[in-house]
């Protein structure tokens, strides 16, 4: 399973100038897996702008670091656990959370929030078996995240969810963790010869053997032993012990044990420190008897950290571990040279330069434009009359309906930082303790990315950034998780390249750094690739907690639409779900317009004239307005034809998913117009209606000129939107 290719084996032999030992081969195979080495993707993702942020292995940290001013530093990391979650959803999702938390902890920063992006197959499709499997996966993934995140006391503050047939019998589980620390408390990642190597936390067992290699091929066989076992309680006390040791500066360098276990951890640590490591595997605490040295080396048992500690601090550190009753072993020491020397009962079983292990030979993958893009679907879309019932149907759709069934299972408030909780705004907001706040949003749209990976990815970034803007924050960086099928398939690889280009173009235009990222290939089930699934996280910094943007409609507000709605419904929920049509152009992003609109909304929020704000995404203006009304418990009356648009039809205007649009509700319409005029930018901004006084009237009314397009009691919308996910989960008849 973990074998090198013939070419890689010759490359290794040539670099070593000899035959590798069995142990060396295991180490190299783990590190050169696609999962750990990025051998297909590195050339491309290394072109993404980093600007001031410190990211990636070169900085010595697993997490990306960004300075927030006021002596604060934020760490961010995104990871996925797709293969494990697809076969063992509870443990796979839980250990996914565990892994990303360790990355944040490795920098010496306290994990302060978690988010997740989840993708599943059809939940209310035509195949009962598929629906049933999706329900099983969803329930257990959510339970895995909930049990783990809640127990370690890190709030899960939000996320995103998508259903699509290309994920049938599979799932994507992406987890983001954010950490916070004083700038001067960050681990230095320096070491001196003679320093001790501590392995602390969980004992090493046979779980997760070949996990990295398992994740580096398509999912065909269900290899459950490659899935690790979570222990959130141990993780919680490990977090506290490590942070206490870090606060007292007993830790000179630190790395978590993830994919590839000790093998990858030791080689990357040695490489980063520029020092040799001398390790005896017989010192490692084991959970089971009879493990071979290779198994010890590549086991991916959870809740383990590797610490480099000066000899003088040994006793103090041991006292902390004793206080928390955490197991540890001293497995070796830092030495001169650049080799990793691995012994087992004093017999040397590997002696290999770290850079040979960590520098996998990169690959040139072939790419070609997918043939499915050449087919032109020019089906005629019928003009339905019943826009009201279509709206109700869209609000119930799995990709739109309310997610409270999920997020109410997560403790979103522990830590006393969560200002905007899940469902309250377009982003979640965490206070920093200095009057400022961090806003965070995740977005993905596999369906759009399938039709046009470049424009689709631009749309995802734009949406994530819009969400951060809506909360009142300014974006300070993005993270990306690029998930595709096999990179050996040229058509898949082309879609990957398109997504990277989109990220680069967007970030260059907005001067935004990519603070962290991850590439996950081989997301296939029985040889069929998933739709291209870049997931983007946007991080913003807000300066005024008094002016936070909430996604709710208040009575007495005028309702404005900022941005232009275009006849571009390809890949929209309306076309795909209602008309079951994949025709039409997907929304194109105009970078300059996106920037103008974003700054107009930012200025309005910071001037304090905005009562409620929400971006338009899935389901278009119609759904965005409905969500605002439901959240604010306030009805409205709008004339949708007043919105700036280039649509040919009224249904397009209602449901188009054009980028760069915001609905803004304000009690001070004059001031809002004034501010927008002042920004001297040519922003499309139109008043489209007003909120109704909720005490006397709680209806929502969509008009097109004088014609009433849809009219509802607010409660009817609320029931459709709020209860849909739960009823899909409980409806075993489908």
């Amino acid at each position: 399973m973990s074998a090198l290719t013939t070419a890689e084996f010759s490359h290794l032999k040539k670099s070593l100038n000899r035959h590798p030992t069995e142990t060396e081969l295991q180490m190299v195979a783990a590190e050169w897996s696609e999962h750990c080495s990025y051998k297909s993707s590195k050339k491309y993702i290394s072109r993404l702008p980093v600007l001031g942020a410190r990211i990636g292995m070169d900085s010595g940290f697993d997490a990306g670091l960004i300075e927030l001013g006021d002596d604060l530093i934020l760490t961010v990391r995104i990871e996925s656990h797709n293969h494990p979650s697809a076969i063992e959803p509870y443990g796979g999702a839980a250990t996914g959370v565990g892994g990303v938390v360790r990355d944040i902890l490795s920098a010496g920063t306290r994990p302060i929030a978690l988010m997740n992006g989840l993708r599943f197959g059809d939940i209310n499709g035509h195949e009962p078996k598929v629906n049933q499997h999706t329900r099983w996966l969803l329930r257990n993934v959510v339970r895995g995240i909930s049990d783990y995140g809640n127990c370690i006391g890190v709030p899960t503050i939000g996320g995103e969810l998508e259903f699509d047939g290309s994920f049938n019998n599979y799932c994507l589980v992406d987890v983001v963790c954010i950490g916070l620390s004083k700038t001067n408390k960050i681990i230095a990642n320096l070491a001196d010869i003679g320093d001790l190597i501590f392995l602390v936390g969980g004992a090493t067992g046979r779980d997760g053997i070949h996990g990295a290699a398992f994740a580096s091929v398509g999912l065909v066989h269900e290899n459950r032993s490659a899935v690790q076992i979570p222990d959130p309680f141990l993780k919680k006390i490990l977090i506290e012990a490590i942070l206490e040791a870090s606060e007292d500066r007993y830790i000179k360098a630190m790395k978590d044990l993830g994919g590839g276990g000790l093998a990858c951890c030791l080689s990357e640590t040695s490489h980063n420190l520029g020092k040799g490591l001398d390790v005896d595997l017989s010192c490692v605490r084991l959970r089971e008897k009879g493990m071979s040295p290779s198994e010890i080396l590549i086991s991916e048992s959870q809740e383990r950290m590797l610490l480099i500690v000066g000899k003088d601090d040994r006793e103090s550190l041991e006292k902390i571990f004793a206080k928390y009753e955490i197991g540890y072993s001293i497995i070796g020491k830092v030495c001169s040279g650049h080799e990793i020397k691995i012994r087992y009962n004093s017999e040397v079983i590997a002696d290999i330069p770290a850079h040979i292990v960590t520098c996998a030979p990169l690959l040139n993958r072939k790419s070609s434009r997918p043939s499915y893009l050449k087919r032109k679907h020019a089906t005629r879309i019928a003009s339905p009359k019943n826009l009201g019932s279509i709206l109700l149907d869209l609000l119930r759709r799995p990709n739109i309906c309310k997610r409270s069934w999920i997020y109410e299972q997560y403790d979103s408030e522990v830590g006393l930082r969560t200002v905007l909780k899940p469902g309250e705004g377009d982003s979640s907001i965490l206070r920093l303790g200095n009057g400022k706040y961090v806003a965070m949003s995740m977005d993905g749209n596999s369906r759009r990315c399938y039709f046009d990976p470049y424009q689709g990815t631009l749309g995802c970034i734009s949406e994530a950034v819009r969400n951060v803007i809506c909360s009142g924050a300014s974006p300070v960086g993005i993270i990306d998780h690029l998930q595709f099928g096999s990179p050996e398939n040229p058509e898949v690889f082309w879609t990957f390249q398109q997504a990277v280009s989109a990220i680069k173009d967007y970030c260059d235009f907005f001067t935004l750094p990519v603070i962290g990222g991850k590439v996950s290939f081989y997301n296939e089930r029985n040889g069929l690739p998933i739709k291209p699934s870049p997931v983007i996280g946007a991080i913003g910094l807000g300066r005024n907690l008094e002016k936070v943007g909430r996604a709710r409609l208040d009575p007495r507000c005028s309702i404005f639409l900022i941005g232009q709605t275009k006849e571009e419904l390809g890949g929209s929920e309306y076309y795909l779900s209602y008309h079951r049509s994949d025709s039409g152009n997907i929304p194109k992003l105009d970078l300059a317009e996106d920037k103008r609109n974003a700054s107009a909304v930012s200025n309005s929020i910071s001037s304090g004239v905005v009562n409620g704000v929400h971006d338009c995404s899935k389901g278009g203006i119609a759904v965005a307005l409905a969500e605002l009304a439901i959240n604010g418990n306030t009805g409205f009356d709008i004339d949708i034809s007043l919105a700036s648009n280039t649509c040919n039809r009224i249904d397009s205007l209602m449901f188009s998913e054009s980028n760069s649009r915001y609905v803004v509700a304000t009690e001070k319409p004059k001031e809002l117009i004034e501010i927008l005029r002042d920004s001297r930018s040519q922003v499309h901004c139109n008043k489209i209606g007003y909120a109704v006084d909720s005490s006397s009237n709680d209806t929502v009314q969509y008009r097109g000129g004088q014609q009433i397009l849809a009219k509802f009691e607010l409660n009817k919308l609320r029931l459709a939107y709020n209860n849909s996910l739960e009823s899909m989960l409980n409806d075993v008849s489908k």
């Binding site: 127990c151 222990d231 309680f233 919680k236 206080k323 408030e413």
Partner: protein
Amino acid sequence: MKKIGVIVFPGTNCDRDVFHVLSEVMHVETEYIWHNRQTLNGFSGLVLPGGFSYGDRLRAGVIAAHSPVIHEVKSMAKDGVPVLGICNGFQILIESGLLPGALVKNERLSFVCKWVDAKVKNATTPFTRLFQKNQKIRMPIAHGEGRYVADSPTIKELRQKDQIVLSFLDENPNGSIESIAAICNLEGNVVGMMPHPERASERVLSPVVNSIDGSIIFRSLMHYLGDTHTR
């Protein structure tokens, strides 16, 4: 100056939150107490915060109830010192025998985190004395095992002796008997509650309703301890 102790077990995770509210919002001297402390001196009140002590193994709170510090908690409780258990702290107080009944898995079998309405049924305890009886308050809950159950004689006694401190209003989020959200011992100085008052003590953290009812729980304690300026 009064000093409040915040007891920390391995796996407790709301200790820093309670500490923050007591020291930074209430400006009370506060000290962490690690679970293996044998003697406690100079504390006017104790809080057992929420979390997952010992990872909820066996069942929530049962292992922590056998920690060395619990001896002291029991004897201080007997002496009338106010003791508040929040969420997992409530579970620990029950498992220690300081409060009657049991807390079992929520009716829906899943964890639930949301803001809920509750009614103050007993406004005489050291933690509720600044509320009005029957006052409607709003606080968040976050638990998987918060469904209060007891046999009917116990429930009857709780009712008769005014030991039901808070009950959920409108919606019963976990299936507790009589919608019980908080109870106290016969003397009233030991209170256990599922809602998290520390999460409802600062305006900025409250959802739009701007409720800081949770802070009144802590203010009540300060008031009880003789700080009459606290209102």
